[in-house]
């Protein structure tokens, strides 16, 4: 199934783009998607512990199963405000 992954800040810079369209097996979890990206970019391993997973703009557990057209985002610790 087709999914879209959004990356921001340090993750966006590390991967080199802010948006990835991926084809993943049915039943894949959001954590599986991170594993998939990590297999292509091993430096992501260092950031995994500090990454939160968002599906359709809500933060969820890594074990959350995905559905087609889900909007996924990997989020580093935030630092809004001044």
């Amino acid at each position: 199934m087709q999914i879209r992954v959004l990356l921001f800040a340090a993750l966006r810079e590390l991967v080199g783009q802010g948006r990835l369209d991926l084809d993943v097996p049915a039943g894949a979890t959001v954590g599986d998607v991170f594993d998939l990206l990590e297999s292509n970019e091993p430096r992501l391993r260092d950031l995994r512990a500090s990454t939160s997973f968002a599906v359709n703009r809500e933060v969820v557990a890594a074990s959350t199963e995905l559905h087609g057209d889900d909007e996924i985002a990997f989020l580093q610790p935030v630092s809004g405000g001044s």
Binding site: L6, S52, V59, A61, V78, G80, G81, S82
Partner: protein
């Protein structure tokens, strides 16, 4: 009023947006870019937001504050892009019948903003550039239990 802007913010517009006939206390908080961070000189900042989720979370903060205090209205602006020293990064205006509630609700809103809103800040200083890391987002980061 909730806005993520890549242009200068307007504290006065936020203030005017929350004035109500029943509001005896209107508090405006402005967060500006400081020239140092942890003892190191900062040259400028860059902010980046996951905009649709940031707007959703800012609305959640308004709802949380309104459930705790008699908030008449709240306006929040956050800037993205490059900001120079002294520029405003965030503005929060809150109106309540009385000032005590308005101060409390405004402080609550900025604290929650720093906790749950997907916005990131990169500092450019004499020692290079670094993404500032605050709190890690937790699943279903709903409002903390009331005191």
């Amino acid at each position: 009023m909730i806005e993520i802007l890549d242009e200068p913010l307007s504290p006065s517009r936020c203030l005017e947006a929350v004035r109500r006939p029943g509001s005896g206390g209107v508090v405006t908080f402005v967060g500006a870019v400081r020239d140092e961070s942890g003892g190191k000189r900062v040259r400028f900042l860059e902010y980046e937001a996951y905009e649709p989720m940031a707007v959703t979370k800012l609305r959640q903060i308004v709802a949380e504050a309104s459930a705790r205090w008699p908030v008449n209205a709240m306006a929040i602006q956050h800037r993205v892009g490059r900001l120079e020293i002294g520029e405003d990064a965030v503005v929060i205006a809150v109106s309540c019948p009385h000032r005590g509630d308005a101060f409390d609700a405004c402080e609550y809103a900025i604290n929650r903003l720093k906790e749950i809103v997907p916005i990131w800040k990169k500092e450019y200083g004499e020692h290079g550039e670094v993404w500032v890391e605050g709190p890690t987002l937790e699943p279903s980061s709903h409002a903390p239990a009331q005191d």
